[in-house]
Symmetry: C2
Amino acid sequence: MEKTVNEVITKDQLLKDWQAHRRLTRKVIEAFPEKEFFNYSIGGMRPFSEMAMELLGIAEPGLREIVTGISAELNEQMNHENKKQNILEAWDNATQKINAHWEKIDAIDFNKEIMSFGQFPGTVQSALAYFIENEIHHRGQGYVYLRSLGIEPPLFYERD
Amino acid sequence: MEKTVNEVITKDQLLKDWQAHRRLTRKVIEAFPEKEFFNYSIGGMRPFSEMAMELLGIAEPGLREIVTGISAELNEQMNHENKKQNILEAWDNATQKINAHWEKIDAIDFNKEIMSFGQFPGTVQSALAYFIENEIHHRGQGYVYLRSLGIEPPLFYERD
């Protein structure tokens, strides 16, 4: 009982929340017209495709590094051929791999100090929090891109 | 030791992370020119002042409701007199109150089911996560507003 009262969130719940966020981000990718996904931006920022590739470069490789202890390289590019479908397929592939990596998460101490991608110091907890927060941050920017294109973004609280 | 390995995040760390996010959002408010804070928007969205008032309406009242059990009303407006300083003062006031409320958080079961503001069902954990995620989401939108105004936003990872 003590444990229930004092625990903020379980590892299982964290994975559920993360994947729920990733489902919402996937919907934002889907909502973009093909061309604007790769070309449209505001204020000199990156197109949403570039942000999506950053998120792809962080999520699965970052978690893999955490559960395996083997250093990962940060790679924010992929051969997308200007096709949204290629990014969506990479997204779904990462979804499956994240779930598979998570099977090893029980053995991981979230207070352990790590160096993500050989350059970002923190703990397992702060690294995973950063991965998710960075996704929410950029997704929010995608919402503005969509609105300025006259497109209604997916509802923020619908994560199914 | 078992506890350390299995705990994702402590309540103390959650408060620290939340207040770090709130410091960053405060910097985003500060970065806006006075006029654009209240008037500027993209794609028919709200000016950042309106988003900031939403965040003010949620954070302290939402946490107060959680720790006291007394229902709070959602109020996303305040008498700002078109002065950014009034919003910043409300922000700092909320910062202090959040810290004070948090002194009662040890007694709170994060799995307890609650109804925030009489309308949003969830658990204490999901409610607090939503408060923070919603802030990151809207702050990301503020970044686009700033960039489109030619203003460099604060660095996402600097929370001091």
